[in-house]
Symmetry: C2
């Protein structure tokens, strides 16, 4: 593989809520996604999930509080924890999670998206 | 856990070549490290290792080429691949790797450092 420029990868797609894989570390994916609006409440029973904001502002709603992330801030949603991402303006996020993870976790529904690999 | 601000974490230490853990995703660590000069040639036989540059410029020397990374650029060194990081000016890097990984891999030596957790 070559070096991966995150901004060059972000420039290659416009669709929101559709994670793109940009690197793999063992059986984990590094994914980037553009978000705007509110996602669906869901959880991942078998894995933690890392969110690192690249641009914009992301609110991770949890059932008992919310976590606001700005660029160069990260948060790990623990396994089994219901969460619902929300962004008022378009926000770009780097995700780290096992390659098997589906974006909508246990919830399914219209937001469910296959992960395309950008290379 | 709370949101983790990477720059606030970087401001908490000055020592170079000493990775600090800032988050955990399952059995993986997110670590940050400040580098300057040349590390030691080593490899990790059991795992890939991700480097994401936060500031400065990192050269990852491989036996057959070198990869230069600037901020918002990343590279995954495949398992078993000899590599030697180098940075002319101080450079900050985010690392992702299994929590069991020792910074000097198979090489050992004076650069070997325990991983402190910043919380």
């Amino acid at each position: 593989m070559d070096a991966v420029n995150i901004d060059a990868m972000l420039a290659r797609f416009a669709e929101q809520w559709s994670p793109k894989k940009i690197a793999q570390v063992n059986d984990y994916d590094v994914r980037i996604v553009k978000l705007q609006g509110e996602f669906t409440w869901h959880k991942h029973d078998d894995t933690d999930e890392l969110f690192l904001v690249l641009s914009g502002e992301l609110t991770i709603q949890l059932r008992d509080r919310q976590v606001v992330l700005r660029p160069r801030e990260l948060f790990v949603v623990p396994r089994g924890t219901e969460h619902c991402p929300r962004a008022d303006a378009e926000t770009a996020v780097l995700l780290l999670e096992p390659s098997s993870v589906i974006n909508t976790g246990d919830a399914g529904g219209d937001f469910t998206a296959a992960v395309e690999t950008l290379s």
